[in-house]
């Protein structure tokens, strides 16, 4: 095992908590190396989480702004002009601002929140703790991956402040809007910043993904075979595989785009005729080429978003259901199947591009095949819950909520995956409803689930449960009230990406419904402040953990001390003897992974001290007692 060696080679500043756990106290890290340029995977995970939360707040607020326009197209909100200045004229969001808001909402939610924020947080935080490693394979690369992400964030944020505004051509950045600087105000500097930001983001994801994969494959502790890993680790591992193989293709697409924008090439641009300008000097370019390259990442991207959430939900559900996960290997295999299929379905985003119908039907078949592994997973979650001894912690509720929205959104996937139906509902609100439920809300629920569940491990304190319950119910009901009606609007043909529907007779019937959705958005967004307050307040003031293993979990991360130092285990890394889902087995509520097989009744291994449920006194108190 190369664990110690890597940690040492990784950075001279690291202290290795090997045989000399005492080293902890001698190495004083400065504030900067401990909290800012930290190479500790746990700190990096928290950095990803907090950056992700900030972006979720910004992205969510954007959706509130453009929903104001959609719900109240005729009402003037003078305060808007105060908040966003000339982007809101006379209290109305301008069309340019509206398109920028939807574009950046999509970009930051998918990339910065649900990729950076979700897998960045949990892969970093959980992988070494759950497989029994001191840190990542390359802590330095890991730190760099965060700082690339941070720089990407800053650049994206800076595009809000350029005169022509941020990019406004949709999160998919199709040419010609993205390739022609003069196509719209947002296509000027805003688009350059968008590209720069996303290229840095791709670099960040590649650095991170390389690290996750090699850590999982190389640095597992003794006895931790692949099939003994918690499903949460499987989820982030497989998303890293997807990311490492699909992000480079997006990168290639972006390079061609940059050359079209700035170096006069004709990959995507052709001799488009523009009134008053004439035909462009480009020749023979084709925007469909970009779509192929984009969706070759774009589709795996939705699994990059959902796989970590699936893993987290499986782990939390089994722990709080006090039952072994149903069909562990089926869970792993179905995630594998999703990874493979993810690369074979991208063209279902392009049914309306005039694709050969025969080719389309192949993509329909492959797309519908994804329903099989997805259904296996849903079945396994439901059977894990079945007759379980459920503990409804906020984390558990979000896990169950995840399954609910994943089913609701997944079923419409069968509609949208069929080219015959998709050609009709393409670019309508039906699609908005579908993907928001199945990968937007679902992935958010996975993220909330993970945060509520592992918060005690992250900060050594509990979050407030009551606030958690209110947050869950308002969010669940709110999400359904927002997105369910959109299915009807979409089937009625209401297109997405329109600034104002009031001039169409056929959409007048939806005026009230749009207003209703917008009000639900505002309420649901407001409810997220409960979470924010709960999160930040609990970091400093939450109820302190008294036991190492508050959820009575089997997984390895709960064998570490309440406040974990760099290196994770003060002594030897524990050896693993079993899978992490031995709950309610042979009369034992739970059997940690560290208990040898056949030794389940050995008092040594059932002691509260070993299982981590012994109440530990605070060091300060213990210190006082010793002196008295």
């Amino acid at each position: 095992m190369n664990n110690e060696a890597v940690l040492q080679a990784g950075a001279a500043t690291l202290h290795v908590a090997g045989d000399h756990g005492e080293a902890h106290h001698h190495h004083k890290q400065s504030f900067i190396t401990k909290y800012i340029f930290s190479q500790d995977h746990k700190t990096i995970g928290k950095q990803f989480l907090i950056t992700g939360i900030i972006w979720a707040l910004i992205g969510g607020f954007m959706s509130v702004l453009f929903r104001l326009q959609l719900g109240f197209p005729d009402t003037s909100f003078p305060w808007l002009s105060t908040v966003i200045g000339h982007w809101a004229k006379d209290g109305h969001i301008t069309a340019e601002a509206y398109y920028s808001l939807t574009t950046i909402h999509g970009t930051v939610m998918i990339f910065f929140v649900l990729t950076g924020g979700l897998s960045g947080t949990f892969a970093n935080f959980l992988i070494p703790l759950q497989i029994g490693a001191r840190d990542m394979a390359s802590p330095l690369m890991n730190m760099l991956s965060y700082w690339f992400f941070f720089t990407a964030s800053v650049i994206m944020l800076s595009s809000f402040f350029v005169e022509t505004g941020p990019f406004a051509g949709g999160w998919t950045a199709y040419p010609p809007l993205s390739a022609l600087g003069d196509a719209s105000p947002g296509s000027k500097t805003g688009m350059d910043l968008w590209l720069a930001s996303l290229i840095l983001f791709v670099v960040s994801q590649l650095l991170a993904g390389l690290n996750y994969i090699s850590t999982v494959l190389n640095m597992r502790t003794k006895g931790m075979s692949m099939m003994r890993m918690p499903l949460s680790t499987w989820g982030v591992f497989l998303q890293a595989v997807l990311g490492v193989l699909s992000f480079p293709v997006l990168f290639a697409g972006f390079i061609l785009l940059i050359f079209d924008r700035h170096f006069g090439t004709s990959f995507y641009l052709s001799d488009i005729y523009i009134q008053g300008v004439g035909a462009l000097p480009h020749e023979g370019g084709n925007a469909i080429l970009y779509q192929h390259l984009f969706w070759f990442l774009g589709h795996p991207e939705v699994y990059i978003v959902i796989l970590p959430a699936m893993g987290i939900v499986s782990e939390v559900m089994s722990t709080n259901g006090r039952k072994p996960i149903f069909g562990y290997s089926a869970m792993v295999m179905s995630m594998f199947a999703i990874v493979v299929l993810a690369f074979l379905v991208w063209a279902h985003h392009m049914f309306v591009t005039g694709m050969n119908p025969f080719l389309g039907s192949i993509f329909v078949l492959l797309t519908l095949l994804i329903a099989v592994p997805s259904a296996i997973k849903v079945f396994n979650w439901l059977t894990t819950l079945w007759k379980g001894n459920l503990r409804f912690t906020p984390g558990m509720l979000f896990a169950i909520g995840f399954v609910s929205v994943f089913i609701s959104g997944g079923l419409t996937g069968i509609y949208t995956g069929n080219s015959a139906i998709d050609i009709h509902i393409h670019d309508t609100y039906f699609i908005i409803a579908h993907f928001h439920l199945v990968m937007g809300v679902a992935a958010f629920f996975g993220m909330f689930c993970g945060v509520y569940h592992w918060f005690p491990k992250m900060y050594g304190r509990h979050m407030n449960n009551t606030l958690g319950y209110i947050h869950f119910w308002v969010t669940l009901v709110g999400a359904y009230l927002i997105f369910w009606p959109m299915h009807y609007e979409g089937l009625a043909g209401m297109p997405r990406r329109y600034y104002d529907y009031s001039s169409w007779e056929s959409f007048k019937q939806f005026v009230e419904l749009n207003r209703f959705i917008s009000i639900c958005v505002i309420i649901t967004f407001a409810a997220q402040f409960l979470f924010l307050f709960n999160f930040f307040h609990s970091i400093f003031k939450g109820r302190k953990l008294t036991v190492k293993n508050p959820w009575k979990s089997n997984a390895l991360e709960w064998t570490t001390p309440i406040n974990v130092g760099h290196g994770n285990w003060p002594g030897e890394i524990p050896e693993v003897h079993r899978w992490p889902y031995d709950y309610s087995k042979d009369g034992h509520d739970f059997i940690p992974q560290t208990v040898p097989v056949g030794e389940e009744d050995n008092p040594l291994y059932t002691s509260a001290e070993f299982t981590g449920i012994k109440v530990e006194e605070e060091p300060a108190k213990a210190h006082k007692k010793a002196h008295a």
């Binding site: 890597v6 992000f247 061609l256 004709s266 020749e283 030897e572």
Partner: protein, 191 residues
């Protein structure tokens, strides 16, 4: 510090080496994306066919020879022949630079034939060649930087270190960019 027992590590790849393999898979995907884009784009109208610059044959031989010298360098390092090793990595780096220069010369050859790579009036087929070959050359230059690092290490350290992992990593990468070029060369020749 627990000493890592060698027996336990037997048969397992060094994490950094593994990192390189995954990284190479990722680089392969980027070039696969670009070459598939080339294949797709070729079926559209307005595609210019032209022959590769002849100097690419020379650069192919240069990079093949550099792979050989890299291999010999690693072999000599393992045999503790430090002087030969130093000379061989120097030769490898020089050959790498020569390769990059020859690639650049290839484009001036094309330019003289009136084929424009970038800018208004360029054809996507030439732009593809420019971008793909350029990106590959950047990867070769990355390899040269890695070579320079181990080169200065070989001269700099007083204490003789015989950790072969970094050199093996550079060697694997070097062979990788070589094979990648062979693939690209065959791709452009026969597609």
């Amino acid at each position: 510090m627990t000493t890592v027992s060698v027996t336990e590590n037997k048969g397992k790849l060094h994490p950094h080496k593994f990192l390189l393999w995954v990284g190479m898979a990722s680089i392969v995907m980027m070039f696969a994306g670009l070459t598939s884009a080339y294949v797709v784009k070729r079926t559209f109208s307005n595609w210019m066919e032209f022959g590769l610059p002849s100097v690419f044959w020379v650069s192919t031989i240069v990079i093949l020879v550099s792979s050989l010298t890299m291999h010999l360098a690693l072999k000599n390092f393992k045999a503790h022949e430090r002087k030969k090793y130093k000379n061989l990595i120097t030769v490898t780096a020089v050959l790498g630079l020569l390769f990059a220069a020859l690639q650049l010369y290839g484009f001036t050859q094309l330019h003289e034939k009136g084929i424009q790579i970038f800018g208004i009036g360029s054809n996507a087929s030439a732009s593809f060649l420019g971008i793909i070959v350029g990106l590959h050359a950047l990867h070769v230059i990355g390899g040269i930087i890695a070579l320079l690092i181990i080169f200065f290490r070989a001269y700099g350290t007083k204490v003789k270190r015989y950790d072969k992992t970094p050199i093996e990593i550079v060697a694997i990468y070097w062979h990788f960019v070589d094979i990648l070029w062979i693939y690209l060369f065959l791709f452009f020749s026969f597609m």
